[in-house]
């Protein structure tokens, strides 16, 4: 089985995230960049399926600046076999529709894949739609927010868990799946895995290499534009008291003062 996993590098949620003043895109200078945690779960899911099948291949597909190669490296050191990386100045500021179209082109460079596995929602934009958009463009089924996933023969089944409850989905391969936070616990790369990753093939593409026209991507051609942005003043810490046996009563007093009870 040949599995494509969509991996995105994002600003670490542990660091303070900012938008740049000039074009309101993510200020990448100011923040640590990491593989999005949910994509580690996507990679893990792909590896689990490959291991269960006894053979197969896991190809990482990523669109992002050069430094996103760190995220790719992490996926390869977990055990993915190879990668395709689209990096080009011109993709800066692409919107969700442009991103989905470009990812679809990148997936098209991978021959004979059976399954695409993505994260359900990126921790930066939380668009939570790119996997379904890519599926639509590819003309294949989308089985999203999977917390359980199995493939038997050419059928993929998924237990989808969202606020609306559990939905059981099934489809024929090829298909796109996105995994949820409770799908698995990603493995840590072993020392051997980290060493092996250095030798794994990465297909580094620019727009021309991926067969994407410059007019299809980028801030200037985006279907939506951010027109202004501003940080909200952080919340001020209030009163803090040490419990002297009357902590519960103190809270009650405070809540009465605030007319909350």
């Amino acid at each position: 089985m040949k599995i494509v996993t969509l991996v995105k590098q994002v600003a670490d949620t542990y660091s303070e995230r900012k938008l740049s003043d000039s074009d309101h895109t993510l200020d990448r200078e100011g923040t640590e960049a990491v593989i999005d945690e949910i994509n580690e779960r996507a990679v893990e899911q792909a590896l689990l399926l490959k291991e269960a099948a006894g053979d197969g291949e896991v190809v990482v597909v990523c669109m992002g600046p050069d430094r996103a190669s760190d995220a790719i490296r992490k996926a390869l050191s977990m055990g993915a076999d190879s990668a395709v990386h689209l990096s080009d100045e011109a993709i800066h500021g692409s919107c969700a529709v442009q991103t989905a179209r470009a990812l679809t082109k990148l997936i098209g460079t991978v021959e004979g894949w059976d399954l695409v596995i993505a994260g359900n929602s990126a921790s930066d934009g939380q668009v939570a739609a790119v996997p379904a958009m890519v599926a639509d463009l590819l003309g294949v089924p989308a089985l999203t927010w999977a917390n359980e996933l199995s493939v038997s023969g050419s059928t993929v089944t998924v237990k989808r868990e969202t606020d609306d409850g559990v939905t059981h989905l099934s489809a024929e391969l090829p298909a796109v799946v996105s995994v949820g936070e409770k799908s698995n616990e990603p493995r840590y790369p072993s020392f051997k895995g980290i060493m092996a990753a250095k030798k794994k093939p990465v297909n580094n593409l620019d727009l021309a290499g991926a067969g994407i026209d410059g007019s299809e991507v980028g801030l200037a051609n985006a279907l939506v534009s951010v027109t202004s942005s501003a940080p909200k003043p952080p919340k001020q810490a209030g009163e803090k008291v040490t419990d002297e046996g009357d902590g519960g009563a103190k809270i009650a007093e405070y809540l009465v003062g605030q007319k909350l009870i």
């Binding site: 949620t13 995230r17 938008l19 919107c95 969700a96 529709v97 179209r101 359900n120 929602s121 921790s123 934009g125 939380q126 668009v127 739609a129 379904a132 958009m133 639509d136 003309g139 089924p141 989308a142 089985l143 999203t144 927010w145 998924v158 969202t162 606020d163 609306d164 559990v166 939905t167 059981h168 099934s170 489809a171 936070e181 985006a222 279907l223 939506v224 534009s225 951010v226 027109t227 202004s228 501003a230 940080p231 909200k232 952080p234 919340k235 810490a237 209030g238 009163e239 803090k240 008291v241 040490t242 419990d243 009357d246 902590g247 519960g248 009563a249 103190k250 809270i251 009650a252 809540l255």
Partner: protein, 313 residues
């Protein structure tokens, strides 16, 4: 006035409140047209509520298809031509319908907005740390609106009914083979609650979450949990608050045994009033708390519960 399509969010014949929020938001853009995609008769049951909340038109698209989300996408695609825009709730399903509709129709996708005006939309990002304004550069933008962000204003619309076909799905689709609705229980829903009491890893066990529930029930509150509490199996996943859980902004949020990691704060720091109980006086939750008690939650929470119960008489 141009029509604005509103995808009606309903489950098991019941309207979801977010639909009325969408109808309210739609009025800022034009004349709201509610689009009901569902089984036979689904629209009949919802029509009165939709009309009362401003729907000038109600499109009824009846289908018994088991294709996952494909009927919704296909119906909206067939209607979008004459619309000034499409509003969909920013739920997991809604976000996907919106994304698929946007790629099919080449429309700008504005995701998870908290406000809609004729000039554009407002976003609240990075857990409320940033606000941004955005606009679409295409015709009929597709906009998903965060549940709870819009205050509902009921003002009746014309409510004209029209049946529409559900076009056949293009491309292969996933099939729905079963559904299990969430067991709501008697407590208010997290995203709709005015008061939330949340427990973290400090609660220590599933059994001891009764301390959190007890306080919540005395306040008529919803119960939330940190990811660590969920991952430790203390409380079910649908109650997780935070970046990858629910975003909430109740009148009052009480955090018990929660350290206040940035990802947890991302889901609750826009709450009007925050109260925290933590035995570590350095816990970051105190940085956003309006009132904090440094102490043992097992002493403080029951005492607070008693005080609340006493006051209620």
């Amino acid at each position: 006035m141009a029509e604005v399509l509103v995808l009606v969010d309903h489950v098991d014949g019941e309207i979801k409140k977010t639909t009325y929020e969408l109808l309210t938001a739609a009025k800022a853009l034009g004349s709201p047209s509610a689009v009901v995609v569902g089984g036979a008769g689904a629209a009949d049951k919802l029509a009165d509520g939709l009309t009362e909340h401003g729907a000038d038109k109600i499109y009824a698209a009846e289908t018994d298809s088991t294709d996952f989300l494909a009927p919704e996408v296909a119906v909206l695609e067939s209607l979008i031509g004459s619309a000034a825009g499409v509003l969909i709730s920013a739920s997991a399903n809604g976000k996907e319908v919106a994304g698929r509709l946007a790629v099919r129709t080449g429309s700008g996708l504005l995701s998870d907005v908290v406000g809609v005006t004729g000039d554009g939309v407002q976003h609240s990002i990075f857990g409320g740390a940033y606000t941004a304004e955005a606009k679409a550069n295409t015709e009929h933008p597709v906009i998903t609106v965060r549940p709870g962000a819009i205050d509902i204003e009921a003002s009746a619309g014309a409510g004209a009914r029209e049946s529409v076909e559900v076009p056949a799905a293009s491309g292969r689709q996933a099939t729905v083979t079963g559904r299990e609705p969430i067991q709501g229980g008697s407590r208010p829903e997290l995203t709709e609650a005015t008061v939330i009491v949340s427990g973290g890893r400090g609660v220590g066990s599933a059994e001891d979450f009764t301390v959190v529930e007890g306080l919540a029930d005395s306040l008529g509150a919803a119960v939330g949990a940190s990811r660590a509490a969920v991952d430790s199996g203390y409380y079910p996943p649908q109650f997780q608050v935070g970046q990858t859980g629910k975003s909430v902004s109740p009148q009052l949020y009480i955090a018990l045994g929660i350290s206040g990691a940035i990802q947890h704060r991302a889901g609750m720091q826009t709450s009007k009033t925050i109260v925290a109980v933590n035995k570590d006086e350095e816990a970051p939750i105190f940085e956003v708390a309006d009132f904090g008690i440094v102490g043992d939650l097992f002493k403080v929470a029951p005492q607070l519960q008693d005080e609340v119960t006493k006051r209620k008489g």
